[in-house]
Assembly symmetry: C2
Homo-oligomer: 100 residues x 2
């Protein structure tokens, strides 16, 4: 993820990418599901939780990954994803700075 000269901050581009990633309800639900699994969530499990095709799930996971919101790990046939808590924390920090 890109950072500005101030370490730990999200620059505007990253911030907007995250905001867009969160704006789709289904994608937000997927992210929530991932976050709810303390550590890693398997892609197979996610596929079972939502009425969407593999193609669509793949698309959403790519968007979340591009936004820096999840980390992807591959183990041969399978895929595991995990919330990037550092990104999440920085995003919340930016939002919080809007008011007081």
């Amino acid at each position: 993820m890109k950072t500005s000269i101030y370490h730990g901050d999200v620059d505007r581009r990253s911030f907007n990418r995250i905001s867009k990633a969160l704006a789709d309800p289904r994608r937000y639900e997927i992210l929530r599901r991932i976050a709810a699994c303390g550590s890693e969530a398997s892609c197979v499990m996610l596929k079972g939780k939502f009425p969407i095709t593999p193609a669509t799930l793949s698309h959403h996971l790519k968007e979340l990954s591009n936004a820096g919101l999840i980390e992807i790990r591959r183990n041969s046939k399978f895929m595991y994803v995990e919330l990037r808590r550092d990104t999440w924390k920085q995003y919340l920090k930016e939002l919080r700075s809007l008011s007081e």
Copy 2:
């Protein structure tokens, strides 16, 4: 703004509306500008700050208002907007609940 049976919480519909409202970079900048004026921001001032037509600004303000993010006050010819800090606080609370 709609609330669930738990007072102070945003329901899913409201949450998604807010997320969508924040997803457009220009609209987020407008909201930021509004929030930066401690109390009220005049619409005339906002119009001067962004290279957009009155129609577009009107559209964005309506979206922000529909999302419950701003309060609108009219004084004869003029319009003033203010951040709704209660909504903002609840939105942040919902986001924070995603991780720990």
